[in-house]
Protein backbone atom coordinates (compact mmCIF):
# COMPACT_ATOMS: atom_id res chain seq x y z
CA UNK A 1 0.00 0.00 0.00
CA UNK A 2 1.37 3.35 -0.95
CA UNK A 3 1.80 5.60 2.05
CA UNK A 4 0.42 9.09 1.85
CA UNK A 5 2.70 11.99 1.17
CA UNK A 6 2.81 15.03 3.42
CA UNK A 7 0.94 16.84 0.69
CA UNK A 8 -1.98 14.46 1.04
CA UNK A 9 -2.12 15.15 4.77
CA UNK A 10 -2.36 18.80 4.10
CA UNK A 11 -5.06 18.09 1.56
CA UNK A 12 -7.05 16.39 4.25
CA UNK A 13 -6.69 19.25 6.64
CA UNK A 14 -7.81 21.56 3.88
CA UNK A 15 -10.67 19.20 3.20
CA UNK A 16 -11.65 19.38 6.84
CA UNK A 17 -11.74 23.15 6.71
CA UNK A 18 -13.72 22.95 3.50
CA UNK A 19 -16.15 20.70 5.29
CA UNK A 20 -16.51 23.34 7.96
CA UNK A 21 -17.58 25.78 5.29
CA UNK A 22 -20.09 23.25 4.05
CA UNK A 23 -21.46 22.98 7.55
CA UNK A 24 -21.84 26.70 8.06
CA UNK A 25 -25.32 27.04 6.68
CA UNK A 26 -26.62 23.71 7.86
CA UNK A 27 -28.13 23.88 11.19
CA UNK A 28 -31.74 24.51 11.99
CA UNK A 29 -34.57 22.23 11.14
CA UNK A 30 -36.77 25.08 9.95
CA UNK A 31 -40.30 25.91 10.94
CA UNK A 32 -43.38 24.18 9.65
CA UNK A 33 -44.89 26.64 7.12
CA UNK A 34 -48.38 25.36 7.89
CA UNK A 35 -48.23 26.32 11.54
CA UNK A 36 -48.40 29.88 12.74
CA UNK A 37 -46.46 29.23 15.90
CA UNK A 38 -48.84 31.46 17.76
CA UNK A 39 -49.74 30.63 21.29
CA UNK A 40 -52.98 28.92 22.09
CA UNK A 41 -53.80 31.84 24.33
CA UNK A 42 -55.54 34.63 22.47
CA UNK A 43 -53.82 37.97 22.13
CA UNK A 44 -50.32 36.79 22.85
CA UNK A 45 -48.10 39.87 22.72
CA UNK A 46 -45.07 38.14 21.28
CA UNK A 47 -45.11 35.95 18.19
CA UNK A 48 -41.71 34.28 18.13
CA UNK A 49 -40.18 33.85 14.70
CA UNK A 50 -38.26 30.68 13.95
CA UNK A 51 -34.52 30.76 13.55
CA UNK A 52 -33.10 30.94 10.04
CA UNK A 53 -34.11 28.08 7.77
CA UNK A 54 -31.61 25.55 6.51
CA UNK A 55 -29.73 26.38 3.35
CA UNK A 56 -28.33 23.31 1.67
CA UNK A 57 -31.51 21.84 0.46
CA UNK A 58 -33.37 20.79 -2.60
CA UNK A 59 -35.37 17.93 -3.96
CA UNK A 60 -32.59 15.36 -3.84
CA UNK A 61 -32.61 11.60 -3.65
CA UNK A 62 -32.20 11.69 0.11
CA UNK A 63 -35.44 13.60 0.49
CA UNK A 64 -37.38 11.09 -1.59
CA UNK A 65 -35.81 8.19 0.29
CA UNK A 66 -36.61 9.83 3.63
CA UNK A 67 -40.23 10.29 2.71
CA UNK A 68 -40.43 6.71 1.49
CA UNK A 69 -39.01 5.37 4.74
CA UNK A 70 -41.21 7.65 6.79
CA UNK A 71 -44.33 6.58 4.97
CA UNK A 72 -43.29 2.98 5.52
CA UNK A 73 -42.90 3.81 9.21
CA UNK A 74 -46.47 5.08 9.27
CA UNK A 75 -47.74 1.97 7.46
CA UNK A 76 -46.22 -0.43 9.97
CA UNK A 77 -47.08 1.73 12.97
CA UNK A 78 -50.38 0.03 13.76
CA UNK A 79 -52.40 -0.12 16.97
CA UNK A 80 -51.42 -2.83 19.44
CA UNK A 81 -54.41 -5.00 18.54
CA UNK A 82 -53.06 -5.45 14.99
CA UNK A 83 -49.34 -5.53 15.78
CA UNK A 84 -47.11 -8.60 15.74
CA UNK A 85 -43.62 -8.78 17.32
CA UNK A 86 -42.15 -8.75 13.80
CA UNK A 87 -44.04 -5.54 12.96
CA UNK A 88 -42.87 -3.89 16.15
CA UNK A 89 -39.25 -4.90 15.45
CA UNK A 90 -39.62 -3.55 11.90
CA UNK A 91 -41.03 -0.31 13.33
CA UNK A 92 -37.98 0.26 15.54
CA UNK A 93 -35.47 -0.67 12.84
CA UNK A 94 -37.20 1.60 10.34
CA UNK A 95 -37.10 4.42 12.89
CA UNK A 96 -33.36 3.77 13.29
CA UNK A 97 -32.78 3.98 9.52
CA UNK A 98 -34.95 7.07 9.27
CA UNK A 99 -32.98 8.75 12.03
CA UNK A 100 -29.68 8.07 10.28
CA UNK A 101 -30.94 9.50 6.98
CA UNK A 102 -32.82 12.36 8.61
CA UNK A 103 -29.69 13.65 10.33
CA UNK A 104 -27.72 13.55 7.07
CA UNK A 105 -29.73 16.56 5.94
CA UNK A 106 -29.22 20.08 7.24
CA UNK A 107 -29.62 20.63 10.94
CA UNK A 108 -29.31 18.48 14.03
CA UNK A 109 -26.30 20.40 15.33
CA UNK A 110 -23.68 18.83 13.11
CA UNK A 111 -22.14 22.27 12.65
CA UNK A 112 -21.72 22.70 16.38
CA UNK A 113 -20.31 19.24 16.97
CA UNK A 114 -17.98 19.51 13.98
CA UNK A 115 -16.67 22.90 15.12
CA UNK A 116 -16.08 21.67 18.66
CA UNK A 117 -14.13 18.63 17.55
CA UNK A 118 -12.06 20.74 15.23
CA UNK A 119 -11.20 23.09 18.07
CA UNK A 120 -10.15 20.61 20.75
CA UNK A 121 -8.02 17.55 21.19
CA UNK A 122 -10.25 14.68 22.25
CA UNK A 123 -10.09 10.99 23.02
CA UNK A 124 -10.99 8.49 20.30
CA UNK A 125 -14.37 7.65 21.78
CA UNK A 126 -15.52 11.19 22.38
CA UNK A 127 -17.03 11.81 18.93
CA UNK A 128 -19.46 8.96 19.65
CA UNK A 129 -20.17 10.25 23.17
CA UNK A 130 -20.91 13.75 21.89
CA UNK A 131 -22.86 12.48 18.87
CA UNK A 132 -25.17 10.28 20.90
CA UNK A 133 -25.50 12.90 23.63
CA UNK A 134 -26.61 15.44 21.06
CA UNK A 135 -29.05 13.06 19.36
CA UNK A 136 -30.38 11.87 22.71
CA UNK A 137 -31.01 15.41 23.91
CA UNK A 138 -32.58 16.32 20.56
CA UNK A 139 -35.00 13.36 20.62
CA UNK A 140 -35.46 13.39 24.38
CA UNK A 141 -36.53 17.01 24.36
CA UNK A 142 -39.27 16.09 21.88
CA UNK A 143 -40.56 13.38 24.21
CA UNK A 144 -40.42 15.67 27.24
CA UNK A 145 -42.17 18.50 25.44
CA UNK A 146 -45.01 16.39 24.06
CA UNK A 147 -45.67 14.73 27.42
CA UNK A 148 -45.60 18.06 29.24
CA UNK A 149 -47.76 20.01 26.79
CA UNK A 150 -50.23 17.15 26.46
CA UNK A 151 -50.67 17.25 30.20
CA UNK A 152 -51.13 21.04 30.21
CA UNK A 153 -53.50 21.45 27.25
CA UNK A 154 -54.15 18.50 24.93
CA UNK A 155 -56.48 20.55 22.71
CA UNK A 156 -53.74 22.81 21.35
CA UNK A 157 -50.87 20.36 21.41
CA UNK A 158 -49.67 21.00 17.86
CA UNK A 159 -49.69 24.80 18.13
CA UNK A 160 -48.15 24.80 21.57
CA UNK A 161 -45.44 22.38 20.47
CA UNK A 162 -44.58 24.59 17.48
CA UNK A 163 -44.52 27.65 19.69
CA UNK A 164 -42.36 25.99 22.35
CA UNK A 165 -40.03 24.60 19.67
CA UNK A 166 -39.39 28.10 18.36
CA UNK A 167 -38.49 29.36 21.83
CA UNK A 168 -36.28 26.36 22.50
CA UNK A 169 -34.44 26.44 19.19
CA UNK A 170 -33.91 30.20 19.36
CA UNK A 171 -32.97 29.91 23.02
CA UNK A 172 -30.39 27.20 22.41
CA UNK A 173 -28.68 29.38 19.81
CA UNK A 174 -28.56 32.31 22.21
CA UNK A 175 -27.23 30.06 24.99
CA UNK A 176 -24.70 28.64 22.57
CA UNK A 177 -23.52 32.16 21.75
CA UNK A 178 -23.09 32.81 25.49
CA UNK A 179 -21.20 29.57 26.16
CA UNK A 180 -19.09 30.16 23.04
CA UNK A 181 -18.21 33.66 24.24
CA UNK A 182 -16.99 32.32 27.58
CA UNK A 183 -14.83 29.70 25.86
CA UNK A 184 -13.61 32.24 23.33
CA UNK A 185 -12.49 34.56 26.09
CA UNK A 186 -10.56 31.71 27.72
CA UNK A 187 -8.97 30.63 24.44
CA UNK A 188 -7.96 34.19 23.54
CA UNK A 189 -6.46 34.68 26.99
CA UNK A 190 -4.35 31.59 26.52
CA UNK A 191 -3.41 32.62 23.01
CA UNK A 192 -2.28 36.08 24.09
CA UNK A 193 -0.36 34.81 27.10
CA UNK A 194 1.16 31.98 25.10
CA UNK A 195 -0.07 29.44 27.65
CA UNK A 196 -1.78 27.17 25.24
CA UNK A 197 -1.32 23.47 25.81
CA UNK A 198 0.95 21.69 23.38
CA UNK A 199 -0.25 19.03 21.02
CA UNK A 200 1.92 16.04 20.22
CA UNK A 201 -0.57 14.01 18.31
CA UNK A 202 2.00 11.47 17.28
CA UNK A 203 3.51 11.27 20.71
CA UNK A 204 2.57 10.22 24.19
CA UNK A 205 -0.05 12.35 25.91
CA UNK A 206 -1.11 12.39 29.47
CA UNK A 207 -4.79 11.83 30.02
CA UNK A 208 -4.94 15.16 31.78
CA UNK A 209 -4.01 17.02 28.62
CA UNK A 210 -6.87 15.48 26.73
CA UNK A 211 -9.34 15.88 29.56
CA UNK A 212 -8.53 19.55 29.78
CA UNK A 213 -8.92 19.79 26.02
CA UNK A 214 -12.34 18.20 25.93
CA UNK A 215 -13.63 20.20 28.86
CA UNK A 216 -16.82 21.97 27.97
CA UNK A 217 -17.58 19.98 24.84
CA UNK A 218 -20.41 18.06 26.43
CA UNK A 219 -21.90 21.12 28.07
CA UNK A 220 -21.84 22.92 24.74
CA UNK A 221 -23.31 19.96 22.85
CA UNK A 222 -26.05 19.60 25.42
CA UNK A 223 -26.80 23.32 25.36
CA UNK A 224 -27.01 23.26 21.59
CA UNK A 225 -29.23 20.18 21.36
CA UNK A 226 -31.95 20.90 23.88
CA UNK A 227 -34.66 21.59 21.35
CA UNK A 228 -37.02 19.05 19.81
CA UNK A 229 -36.42 17.37 16.49
CA UNK A 230 -39.44 18.02 14.21
CA UNK A 231 -39.21 14.42 13.00
CA UNK A 232 -39.61 13.13 16.53
CA UNK A 233 -42.52 15.51 17.20
CA UNK A 234 -44.41 14.20 14.19
CA UNK A 235 -43.85 10.58 15.21
CA UNK A 236 -45.05 11.31 18.74
CA UNK A 237 -48.13 13.19 17.59
CA UNK A 238 -48.91 10.37 15.18
CA UNK A 239 -48.51 7.79 17.93
CA UNK A 240 -50.84 9.84 20.12
CA UNK A 241 -53.49 9.81 17.40
CA UNK A 242 -53.21 6.00 17.41
CA UNK A 243 -53.28 5.85 21.21
CA UNK A 244 -49.77 4.32 21.18
CA UNK A 245 -47.58 6.91 22.88
CA UNK A 246 -45.38 4.20 24.44
CA UNK A 247 -44.36 2.82 21.05
CA UNK A 248 -44.02 6.39 19.79
CA UNK A 249 -41.46 7.09 22.52
CA UNK A 250 -39.58 3.88 21.71
CA UNK A 251 -39.56 4.77 18.02
CA UNK A 252 -38.14 8.22 18.84
CA UNK A 253 -35.40 6.62 20.96
CA UNK A 254 -34.41 4.47 17.98
CA UNK A 255 -34.66 7.51 15.72
CA UNK A 256 -32.22 9.26 18.06
CA UNK A 257 -29.84 6.29 17.88
CA UNK A 258 -29.83 6.59 14.09
CA UNK A 259 -29.24 10.34 14.27
CA UNK A 260 -26.46 9.72 16.78
CA UNK A 261 -24.56 7.64 14.21
CA UNK A 262 -24.66 10.49 11.70
CA UNK A 263 -23.70 13.21 14.19
CA UNK A 264 -20.87 10.97 15.43
CA UNK A 265 -19.70 10.82 11.81
CA UNK A 266 -19.48 14.61 11.71
CA UNK A 267 -17.51 14.71 14.95
CA UNK A 268 -15.22 11.90 13.80
CA UNK A 269 -14.55 13.70 10.56
CA UNK A 270 -13.49 16.86 12.39
CA UNK A 271 -11.37 14.94 14.88
CA UNK A 272 -9.62 12.96 12.15
CA UNK A 273 -8.94 16.12 10.14
CA UNK A 274 -7.50 17.80 13.20
CA UNK A 275 -5.38 14.78 14.11
CA UNK A 276 -4.01 14.70 10.58
CA UNK A 277 -3.11 18.35 10.71
CA UNK A 278 -1.27 18.08 14.02
CA UNK A 279 0.41 14.84 13.05
CA UNK A 280 1.86 16.77 10.15
CA UNK A 281 3.02 19.59 12.38
CA UNK A 282 4.02 17.36 15.28
CA UNK A 283 7.74 17.85 14.79
CA UNK A 284 7.38 21.61 14.95
CA UNK A 285 6.10 21.89 18.47
CA UNK A 286 5.95 25.65 18.72
CA UNK A 287 4.10 26.09 15.47
CA UNK A 288 1.66 23.33 16.34
CA UNK A 289 0.87 24.87 19.73
CA UNK A 290 0.30 28.25 18.18
CA UNK A 291 -1.87 26.77 15.45
CA UNK A 292 -3.88 24.82 18.02
CA UNK A 293 -4.55 27.97 20.02
CA UNK A 294 -5.51 29.87 16.89
CA UNK A 295 -7.76 27.04 15.72
CA UNK A 296 -9.52 26.90 19.06
CA UNK A 297 -10.07 30.66 19.15
CA UNK A 298 -11.20 30.69 15.54
CA UNK A 299 -13.63 27.86 16.09
CA UNK A 300 -15.25 29.60 19.06
CA UNK A 301 -15.37 32.89 17.20
CA UNK A 302 -17.15 31.11 14.38
CA UNK A 303 -19.50 29.38 16.80
CA UNK A 304 -20.47 32.66 18.48
CA UNK A 305 -21.00 34.49 15.20
CA UNK A 306 -22.90 31.60 13.68
CA UNK A 307 -25.18 31.21 16.69
CA UNK A 308 -26.01 34.92 16.81
CA UNK A 309 -26.69 35.02 13.10
CA UNK A 310 -28.98 32.01 13.27
CA UNK A 311 -30.82 33.31 16.33
CA UNK A 312 -31.25 36.85 14.99
CA UNK A 313 -34.79 36.48 13.52
CA UNK A 314 -35.99 34.82 16.71
CA UNK A 315 -34.28 37.29 19.04
CA UNK A 316 -35.54 40.33 17.12
CA UNK A 317 -39.10 39.01 17.11
CA UNK A 318 -39.09 38.98 20.90
CA UNK A 319 -38.90 42.76 20.85
CA UNK A 320 -41.47 43.88 18.29
CA UNK A 321 -41.25 47.48 17.17
CA UNK A 322 -43.82 49.79 18.73
Amino acid sequence: MKPPTPKSFMSHSKAALLCLLFFIPCSPAGANPFLSGSSSSEGAAVQPQPVRPPVLQGPGELGALQMKIRNRLAEIFVPSGQATPALRAALLLTALAYGFLHALGPGHRKTVVFTLFLSRKTRWWEPAAAGFLSAGAHGGMGIFLILLLRMLNPLSLLQDTENASRYLEGGTYLALALVGTVFLAGALKQLIRGEHRHHHDGGNHGAGTVARGSRGIYLTVLTASLFPCPGSILILLFSLSLGEIGWGILAVLFLSLGMGVTITGAALLARTGREGLFRRLGAREKGAARLSAALESGAYLFLVGFSLWMAAPFALSLFPAG
Partner: protein
Protein backbone atom coordinates in the same frame (compact mmCIF):
# COMPACT_ATOMS: atom_id res chain seq x y z
CA UNK B 1 9.07 10.98 7.98
CA UNK B 2 5.31 11.05 7.96
CA UNK B 3 3.67 8.13 6.29
CA UNK B 4 6.75 5.92 6.17
CA UNK B 5 7.44 2.59 7.80
CA UNK B 6 3.98 1.04 7.49
CA UNK B 7 2.38 3.96 9.17
CA UNK B 8 -1.34 3.09 9.55
CA UNK B 9 -2.65 6.58 8.97
CA UNK B 10 -3.30 6.06 5.28
CA UNK B 11 -5.87 3.38 6.01
CA UNK B 12 -7.56 5.52 8.60
CA UNK B 13 -7.77 8.46 6.26
CA UNK B 14 -9.89 6.47 3.87
CA UNK B 15 -12.79 6.67 6.31
CA UNK B 16 -13.17 10.43 6.17
CA UNK B 17 -13.39 10.25 2.40
CA UNK B 18 -16.48 8.10 2.75
CA UNK B 19 -17.84 10.39 5.43
CA UNK B 20 -17.03 13.38 3.28
CA UNK B 21 -19.14 11.89 0.55
CA UNK B 22 -21.99 10.91 2.81
CA UNK B 23 -22.09 14.11 4.76
CA UNK B 24 -21.14 16.83 2.35
CA UNK B 25 -19.81 15.95 -1.04
CA UNK B 26 -22.94 14.82 -2.78
CA UNK B 27 -25.23 17.84 -2.81
CA UNK B 28 -27.93 16.03 -4.75
CA UNK B 29 -28.06 13.39 -2.06
CA UNK B 30 -27.70 15.39 1.10
CA UNK B 31 -29.59 18.40 -0.03
CA UNK B 32 -33.19 17.69 0.79
CA UNK B 33 -34.54 17.67 4.25
CA UNK B 34 -38.30 17.50 4.10
CA UNK B 35 -40.21 16.95 7.31
CA UNK B 36 -43.56 16.28 5.72
CA UNK B 37 -45.04 15.68 2.33
CA UNK B 38 -48.18 15.92 0.28
CA UNK B 39 -49.46 15.10 -3.16
CA UNK B 40 -51.17 17.91 -5.04
CA UNK B 41 -54.06 17.25 -7.40
CA UNK B 42 -55.55 20.17 -9.32
CA UNK B 43 -58.88 20.90 -10.89
CA UNK B 44 -59.01 23.93 -13.20
CA UNK B 45 -62.42 25.58 -13.14
CA UNK B 46 -63.74 27.21 -16.30
CA UNK B 47 -66.77 29.31 -17.05
CA UNK B 48 -67.34 29.49 -20.79
CA UNK B 49 -63.97 30.27 -22.31
CA UNK B 50 -62.55 31.83 -19.14
CA UNK B 51 -60.42 30.12 -16.51
CA UNK B 52 -61.76 31.14 -13.09
CA UNK B 53 -59.17 29.47 -10.94
CA UNK B 54 -57.89 26.16 -9.69
CA UNK B 55 -59.06 23.80 -6.97
CA UNK B 56 -56.16 22.41 -5.01
CA UNK B 57 -56.53 19.05 -3.30
CA UNK B 58 -53.58 18.14 -1.12
CA UNK B 59 -53.22 14.63 0.32
CA UNK B 60 -50.83 14.61 3.26
CA UNK B 61 -48.47 11.99 4.56
CA UNK B 62 -49.79 9.88 7.46
CA UNK B 63 -47.64 11.59 10.12
CA UNK B 64 -48.80 15.12 9.43
CA UNK B 65 -52.33 13.80 8.93
CA UNK B 66 -52.21 12.08 12.31
CA UNK B 67 -50.82 15.22 13.96
CA UNK B 68 -53.66 17.37 12.66
CA UNK B 69 -56.33 14.79 13.42
CA UNK B 70 -54.93 14.33 16.94
CA UNK B 71 -54.91 18.11 17.49
CA UNK B 72 -58.14 19.26 15.87
CA UNK B 73 -60.56 16.33 15.74
CA UNK B 74 -61.67 17.28 19.22
CA UNK B 75 -64.60 14.88 19.47
CA UNK B 76 -62.54 12.06 17.94
CA UNK B 77 -65.19 11.08 15.38
CA UNK B 78 -62.70 10.98 12.49
CA UNK B 79 -64.37 13.97 10.80
CA UNK B 80 -63.80 17.71 10.94
CA UNK B 81 -67.02 19.60 11.68
CA UNK B 82 -67.38 23.34 11.05
CA UNK B 83 -65.67 24.47 14.26
CA UNK B 84 -62.86 21.97 13.81
CA UNK B 85 -62.43 22.97 10.16
CA UNK B 86 -62.15 26.63 11.16
CA UNK B 87 -59.56 25.67 13.76
CA UNK B 88 -57.56 23.67 11.20
CA UNK B 89 -57.71 26.61 8.80
CA UNK B 90 -56.53 29.09 11.44
CA UNK B 91 -53.94 26.86 13.06
CA UNK B 92 -52.59 24.69 10.28
CA UNK B 93 -53.24 26.43 6.99
CA UNK B 94 -53.63 30.23 7.16
CA UNK B 95 -49.93 30.72 7.86
CA UNK B 96 -49.24 29.50 4.32
CA UNK B 97 -50.13 33.01 3.15
CA UNK B 98 -46.62 33.92 4.26
CA UNK B 99 -45.39 31.33 1.77
CA UNK B 100 -47.77 32.34 -1.06
CA UNK B 101 -49.72 29.15 -0.40
CA UNK B 102 -46.82 27.40 -2.18
CA UNK B 103 -48.37 28.45 -5.51
CA UNK B 104 -46.61 30.31 -8.31
CA UNK B 105 -48.17 30.92 -11.70
CA UNK B 106 -47.10 32.67 -14.82
CA UNK B 107 -49.46 34.25 -17.29
CA UNK B 108 -49.09 37.11 -19.77
CA UNK B 109 -45.34 37.09 -19.17
CA UNK B 110 -45.66 37.78 -15.43
CA UNK B 111 -45.12 35.53 -12.43
CA UNK B 112 -47.88 35.91 -9.87
CA UNK B 113 -48.87 34.39 -6.55
CA UNK B 114 -52.36 34.10 -5.10
CA UNK B 115 -53.48 36.88 -2.78
CA UNK B 116 -56.09 34.68 -1.14
CA UNK B 117 -57.73 31.29 -1.25
CA UNK B 118 -61.40 30.39 -0.80
CA UNK B 119 -63.72 27.60 0.31
CA UNK B 120 -61.28 25.67 2.45
CA UNK B 121 -62.33 22.22 3.60
CA UNK B 122 -60.59 19.31 5.28
CA UNK B 123 -61.40 15.64 5.70
CA UNK B 124 -59.82 12.27 6.38
CA UNK B 125 -59.55 9.37 3.94
CA UNK B 126 -58.30 6.55 6.15
CA UNK B 127 -54.97 7.76 7.57
CA UNK B 128 -54.66 10.46 4.92
CA UNK B 129 -55.82 13.99 5.55
CA UNK B 130 -57.01 16.04 2.59
CA UNK B 131 -57.11 19.83 2.24
CA UNK B 132 -59.24 21.26 -0.56
CA UNK B 133 -59.46 24.93 -1.43
CA UNK B 134 -60.04 27.22 -4.39
CA UNK B 135 -57.40 29.58 -5.74
CA UNK B 136 -58.75 32.43 -7.94
CA UNK B 137 -56.39 33.08 -10.83
CA UNK B 138 -55.95 36.20 -12.94
CA UNK B 139 -55.34 34.58 -16.29
CA UNK B 140 -54.36 37.01 -19.03
CA UNK B 141 -53.59 34.59 -21.78
CA UNK B 142 -54.69 31.33 -23.35
CA UNK B 143 -52.06 29.51 -21.37
CA UNK B 144 -50.83 29.39 -17.82
CA UNK B 145 -47.84 27.81 -16.07
CA UNK B 146 -48.53 26.84 -12.47
CA UNK B 147 -46.30 25.20 -9.87
CA UNK B 148 -46.86 24.07 -6.31
CA UNK B 149 -43.52 24.53 -4.61
CA UNK B 150 -42.26 25.00 -1.06
CA UNK B 151 -39.18 27.19 -1.26
CA UNK B 152 -38.24 26.25 2.31
CA UNK B 153 -38.22 22.55 1.35
CA UNK B 154 -39.93 21.70 4.61
CA UNK B 155 -42.54 19.89 2.51
CA UNK B 156 -41.81 17.37 -0.17
CA UNK B 157 -44.48 18.04 -2.79
CA UNK B 158 -45.40 15.68 -5.59
CA UNK B 159 -48.08 15.98 -8.25
CA UNK B 160 -50.91 13.51 -8.55
CA UNK B 161 -51.24 11.39 -11.64
CA UNK B 162 -52.91 12.83 -13.63
CA UNK B 163 -51.95 16.17 -12.06
CA UNK B 164 -55.00 18.09 -13.24
CA UNK B 165 -58.54 17.79 -14.55
CA UNK B 166 -61.13 20.28 -15.82
CA UNK B 167 -64.33 21.37 -14.10
CA UNK B 168 -67.08 23.95 -14.67
CA UNK B 169 -69.08 24.67 -17.77
CA UNK B 170 -66.96 24.97 -20.87
CA UNK B 171 -66.65 23.61 -24.36
CA UNK B 172 -62.90 23.97 -24.20
CA UNK B 173 -60.64 20.98 -23.98
CA UNK B 174 -57.67 22.22 -21.96
CA UNK B 175 -54.37 20.40 -22.30
CA UNK B 176 -52.23 19.74 -19.22
CA UNK B 177 -48.53 19.03 -19.46
CA UNK B 178 -45.98 18.65 -16.65
CA UNK B 179 -42.50 20.01 -17.23
CA UNK B 180 -39.44 21.51 -15.62
CA UNK B 181 -39.03 24.97 -17.07
CA UNK B 182 -35.35 25.87 -16.97
CA UNK B 183 -36.12 29.35 -18.38
CA UNK B 184 -38.32 30.51 -15.50
CA UNK B 185 -36.77 29.55 -12.21
CA UNK B 186 -37.84 30.66 -8.76
CA UNK B 187 -35.23 32.73 -6.92
CA UNK B 188 -35.06 32.76 -3.15
CA UNK B 189 -32.70 33.93 -0.47
CA UNK B 190 -31.57 30.89 1.50
CA UNK B 191 -30.19 33.01 4.31
CA UNK B 192 -33.31 35.01 4.98
CA UNK B 193 -35.50 34.41 8.02
CA UNK B 194 -38.38 31.99 7.58
CA UNK B 195 -40.96 34.76 7.56
CA UNK B 196 -39.25 36.66 4.74
CA UNK B 197 -41.53 36.22 1.74
CA UNK B 198 -39.75 38.57 -0.62
CA UNK B 199 -40.18 37.55 -4.24
CA UNK B 200 -37.34 38.06 -6.64
CA UNK B 201 -37.90 38.62 -10.37
CA UNK B 202 -34.30 38.06 -11.29
CA UNK B 203 -31.22 36.46 -9.85
CA UNK B 204 -28.97 38.54 -7.64
CA UNK B 205 -25.86 37.61 -5.68
CA UNK B 206 -26.75 35.48 -2.70
CA UNK B 207 -29.95 34.11 -4.19
CA UNK B 208 -30.53 30.44 -4.84
CA UNK B 209 -32.27 29.17 -7.92
CA UNK B 210 -34.91 26.45 -8.00
CA UNK B 211 -36.61 24.89 -10.99
CA UNK B 212 -39.91 23.64 -9.68
CA UNK B 213 -41.82 21.26 -11.86
CA UNK B 214 -44.74 23.16 -13.32
CA UNK B 215 -47.98 22.43 -15.02
CA UNK B 216 -48.42 23.98 -18.47
CA UNK B 217 -52.09 24.51 -19.23
CA UNK B 218 -53.27 25.58 -22.69
CA UNK B 219 -56.87 26.19 -23.60
Amino acid sequence: MIGSGGYPYYGIMKIPKILLYLLFAAPGILAAHPHMGFTAAMEFEFSGDKMKGVWQEWRFDPFFSGSIRGSYDWNGDGRFDLDETEAVFAGAFANLKNYDFFIFYRTGGKTLVPERVERFSVWMEGNTMVYRFFVPLEVKDREIFLSVFDRTYFCAITYADPPAVTSGTTNLAPQYRRRENRDNPVYYNPLSPADDNTRYDRWAPGLETAYPEELHVTF
